[in-house]
């Protein structure tokens, strides 16, 4: 079964993380053609039907997209948080670009 993903919408990192996360139950072969990626998916689990496999794939992919947005938007505040938590220094420039 094939799943087609628009790489302008979902980054390579999101797709790779999805393939990794599902790798116990689903075998994926990735074919990249410009902005379109076709992923041949094959369930390795007795309990996963084709419909469930597709649903699981898209849910996982969308979760990684949300995580990517959160990680990108919070990158600087996260650095500041860790610096304040662990650096032995009290003065930080809190201006975020």
């Amino acid at each position: 079964m094939n799943i087609t993903v628009d790489r302008k919408i979902y980054s390579d990192i999101c797709i790779s993380k999805t393939v990794y996360a599902l790798s116990k139950d689903i075998c994926c072969q990735r074919h990249i053609n410009d902005d379109i990626e076709t992923i041949e998916v094959e369930s390795q689990s007795d309990t996963l039907t084709d419909d469930m496999t597709v649903k699981l794939f898209w849910q996982t992919l969308n979760d990684y997209k949300n995580r990517e947005i959160i990680a990108t938007e919070t990158k600087e505040i996260r650095i500041l948080l860790y610096a304040k938590a662990f650096a032995d220094c009290d003065t930080f420039d809190e201006n975020i670009d």
């Binding site: 993380k17 139950d25 995580r67």
Partner: protein, 465 residues
Amino acid sequence: MEYHLLPFDFTRIAGQEVLVNEFGDMFVAPMGTVDKIVNRTLEKDDVYKSLVANFFISEQQVPATLDIAAARLREKKSFLDDFTALHIFVVTLQCNQNCVYCQASSRKEDSVHCTMSEETMARSVELMFRSPAPVLTMEFQGGEPSLHPELIRLGIEKAEELNKSEGRVMRYVLCTNCVHLTDEMLDICKQYGVMISTSLDGPEFLHNSNRGKTDSYQKVIAGIAKAREVLGVDMVSPLQTTSVRALQYPIEIVDEYVDLGFKGIFLRALNPYGLATYNQDWDKYVDDFVVFYKKAFEHILDINKRGTFFMEEFAVIVLRKMLTPFCTGFVDLQSPAGIINSVLVYNYDGYVYASDESRMLAENGDFTFRIGNVNDKYEDIVYGPKVQRIAQLWANETLAGCSDCALRNYCGADPVRNYSTQGDPYGHRPTSMLCKKNKAIIEYLITLLIERKEEVLPIFKRWLL
């Protein structure tokens, strides 16, 4: 709506979205909340206010509570401040029992060349004091360490001597099967406040079948009673190991602990070495262990509801991470991992290992996690190139799978277990049995908090006092 995201991760449990922020605070929200947060379609309702108050989103670019959040994060990782606190001394491999799942690679009682020399003990104690931890725990393991009370006395006396100028808080633990606790051994324990950690697998039939003996249970029970009489009831704590046979007896095992007057039980799965003796499929064992754990846990909840205080100690560790601002000292659920950061093992032969499981690997001929010798310089052992390589793989904040896992604050990294079960210290989370077990138990506890909060939260709070 105008607001700024703050770092958090999420998962779905019991039909809800569970959001966990950078320092482990959990927020349970209706399905679809994460989409709304990310797409800025949240209503300004109670969910919104809770998300702001709990450091998931912020109305300012740099939230006013950033310093508080940083202090919370630091507290969660404060186990790192002290560095290695637990020092395990493998006094001997000799043992007077024959447990079927023996995880310590023990040998017969009359075996030779498997007991620590006095010089190695003394040097190991000196190394222990190089660790900056203000509280040092010296744990004697085996084999059966009580077969060598003279060595244990020597180690403790050396530590006491050095501590006159060091001023640390010293704790001593003797891991013993309690089968042959002599008066000499108990005198040492009484004199220096040594706690007894023993093994009790459950009711008589089960304990004896795990030990490969017909009288082990009676001896252990007699040993526990003797130790309690001399040292005090609270100075003896037992550890349970879930053999394949034990999986069928969750209720009986818990009841045995309650009947003996213990305040809790640590429901402990076999490690890969123990399991190897059964030649059993790891995947199936973990599935069965989770079923066993849940049955035992439900029974423990019932016992508490009937008015008896009794804890499941693995759950207590996870719940402490989940429901309090504090970290725990439990080495198996830490990130960066407990190996080296929280525990060092001095083996009978003078080699130093990153953890107890590391030296078990060595007993099977694999020295991957041997990090030095007691005669090496402390800095070369704990900051050497081998440890630097291990350090690249010991934080679940940076590991594939874990770094995107909402449960990582409640879990831990374990390169040694990854290596021993998957042949690679980095590990592969989707097929990791340790990940599967931890995830199943943590999700179960969160499910209880979502679906049966009124019933379980008062019990959990009592456990955490």
